[in-house]
């Protein structure tokens, strides 16, 4: 079984409050908070699918979908 690879970041913009926890603790600096104070996957190609953002999101607003 190889390492899981990213398919997409499923972000629920209605639930996200832009606290920035996911973006701050991302080891690969994939996520950013946009001008509307919601998270976006700015550099998805760098994602290693560690799911730390998904596990730490207080709003259950981000999900890392793997292949």
């Amino acid at each position: 079984m190889g390492k899981p690879k990213l398919k997409e970041h499923k972000i629920n913009r209605r639930w996200c409050k832009g606290c920035g926890i996911c973006a701050h603790f991302c080891p690969k600096n994939v996520l950013e908070i946009d001008e509307k104070e919601k998270v976006v996957a700015a550099r998805p190609e760098d994602c290693i699918a560690c799911k730390l953002c998904e596990l730490r999101c207080p709003d259950l607003a981000i999900e890392v979908i793997t292949k």
């Binding site: 209605r14 207080p58 259950l60 999900e63």
Partner: protein, 284 residues
């Protein structure tokens, strides 16, 4: 099952402030239940009052939102009547150790099979940021503008000395450990307490200049160390995380069942099937 199967989506987005650690505990708790594979209909969550207590509204278990500090009394009643159910009691620091302090120590003393999750954000957030018994000496709060002179409780020490048979501590920064400890606490037969240090950026963080949510979480990483580590000996101010107590002791509901059996044998309780048996005052 997916995370969404355990929540009541109609109540989302949840009402906690942006970056509140209680949401992270909600997240970790769902994953713990999911990994244990417990049927959500076999779980009863009883909460009291406060920011922390709102967690029961978001989870699709059997839930009860009860009186301030008294969640453990309600949970004891449910557990005694339906011992096969898993009881989860999320409590805030004030809910558990100030308002509900007596319920907490006596539930621990009985060793009834209930899992308590103390969501410790060191402040009364819902009512406007008053200091709690876990705020700590020298901290600032809306009701302590010239610093708090109350010395804090240590939730782990209290649980230990009151007789809890599983006691652990984690933080919202240590998300994998948090999930793991909740799993262990639910599986443990007896009174289990998991204290989770949580951040309140709105009140505690702002008043004590600890920064925003992730800065507070970075601070948790700095001030904690695994239990029994060398770092703790060098710096006694560090807060230990991990499992402190894990022992076997007779569980309350199981012992109570034995008492009923003994009383039946002595004929003190009227048998429901035959109607025979001596009825004595108070037992009939």
């Amino acid at each position: 099952m997916a995370v969404k199967d355990y929540i009541r989506e109609r109540f989302f987005p949840q009402m906690w402030c942006p970056g509140c650690g209680h949401g992270i505990i909600l997240n970790g708790l769902i994953r713990a239940v999911e990994e244990l594979g417990i049927n959500k209909n076999d779980i009863v969550m009883v909460s009291g009052i406060g920011c922390s207590a709102r967690i029961s509204g978001y989870l699709d278990f059997h839930t009860m939102h009860t009186l301030h500090g008294r969640a453990l009394a309600f949970a004891t009643g449910i557990k005694m009547s339906r011992p096969e159910l898993n009881l989860l009691v999320p409590m805030g620091d004030g809910d558990a150790l100030a308002i509900g302090g007596n319920h907490f120590i006596h539930a621990a003393r009985r060793n009834i099979d209930i899992t308590v999750i103390v969501m410790n954000n060191r402040v009364y957030g819902m009512t406007g940021g008053q200091f709690s018994p876990l705020s700590g000496y020298g901290s600032l709060a809306t009701t302590a503008p010239y610093t708090n002179i109350d010395h804090p409780f240590d939730a782990v020490d209290i649980a230990k000395s009151a007789g809890a048979t599983f006691v652990a501590r984690s933080t919202t920064y240590h998300i994998r450990q948090l999930t793991d400890l909740i799993k262990k606490a639910i599986t443990h037969k007896g009174f289990s307490v998991v204290e989770i240090l949580s951040q309140c950026p709105t009140y505690y963080g702002r008043k004590n200049r600890e920064g925003n949510a992730y800065e507070m979480m970075e601070l948790m990483k700095q001030i904690t160390t695994p239990v029994g580590s060398k770092a703790k000996k060098e710096n006694p101010d560090l807060v230990e995380t991990g499992v402190f107590v894990e022992i076997d002791k007779p569980e309350y509901c199981a012992q109570y069942e034995k008492i009923i059996e003994r009383a039946k044998k002595d004929g003190l309780v009227r048998s429901p099937s035959t109607g025979r048996g001596r009825v004595s005052p108070g037992l009939g």
